[in-house]
């Protein structure tokens, strides 16, 4: 990209291939992330799509491209919860370790 002001997420108007228009099934966890984010926005009235987008747009190019749509949403929701002090980094690490143990234990 020639223009340093042209940020990675800003894909509009760039040359691109064909657009995939097929619908696909969503995994249960993707539906849960959707529900969680909608509920969060409803419960914390200061949470807007603009804040969620900022967290997603601040991902590095590799993470932005490598993560799926709902993985990016999950990242944004996590950032919003951390920013507000509703969860701590330690809480998050402990719950991630728990769920990993459940998965592989």
């Amino acid at each position: 990209m020639d223009d340093p002001g042209h940020r990675h997420h800003d894909l509009g108007g760039r040359p691109a291939g064909r657009c995939e228009r097929d619908e696909h099934e969503y995994e249960a966890w993707e539906k849960r992330v959707d529900a969680l984010v909608v509920l969060l926005a409803y419960r914390c009235d200061s949470l807007t799509v603009d804040e969620l987008r900022r967290y997603i747009e601040e991902l590095g190019p590799n993470a932005y491209d490598g993560l799926g749509y709902y993985e990016r949403w999950m990242h944004a929701a996590t950032q919003a919860l951390l920013q507000r002090g509703l969860i701590s980094v330690d809480d998050l690490a402990a719950r991630m370790a728990e769920s990993e143990a459940r998965e592989h234990g």
Partner: protein, 100 residues
């Protein structure tokens, strides 16, 4: 659904405007590909909290005027190969626009 507020606004339908060539950090809703280009005000949409402030969990008030701006596709993409009369309409906040 976010309600529009009535706010003082600078431009009227038909006015020619140029989109500022700005590169703010954080989040904004002005696509890169229209920055620096000239379009025409198609309508005034009302006032809304500034999304660039909302992105930092601030109120973004007072509301800022939002417009729908019409661009010729061939102005945005000189090698645009579809119908030459095609236009693109983009909703842009007033602080991104200057008189052209």
């Amino acid at each position: 659904m976010v309600e529009a507020a009535a706010v003082e606004h600078r431009f009227r339908p038909g006015d020619r405007v140029r989109v500022r060539r700005a590169y703010p950090p954080g989040h904004c809703r002005t696509p890169w590909y229209c920055r620096g280009h000239v379009g025409v005000i198609e309508r005034y949409c009302g006032g809304f909290a500034n999304p660039e402030e909302l992105a930092y969990n601030r109120p973004g008030l007072p509301p800022v005027p939002l417009y729908r701006v019409r661009f010729r596709s061939t102005d945005l993409w000189p090698d645009y190969a579809e119908k030459p009369q095609d236009v693109v309409e983009i909703e842009i906040y007033e602080h991104w626009l200057e008189q052209a």
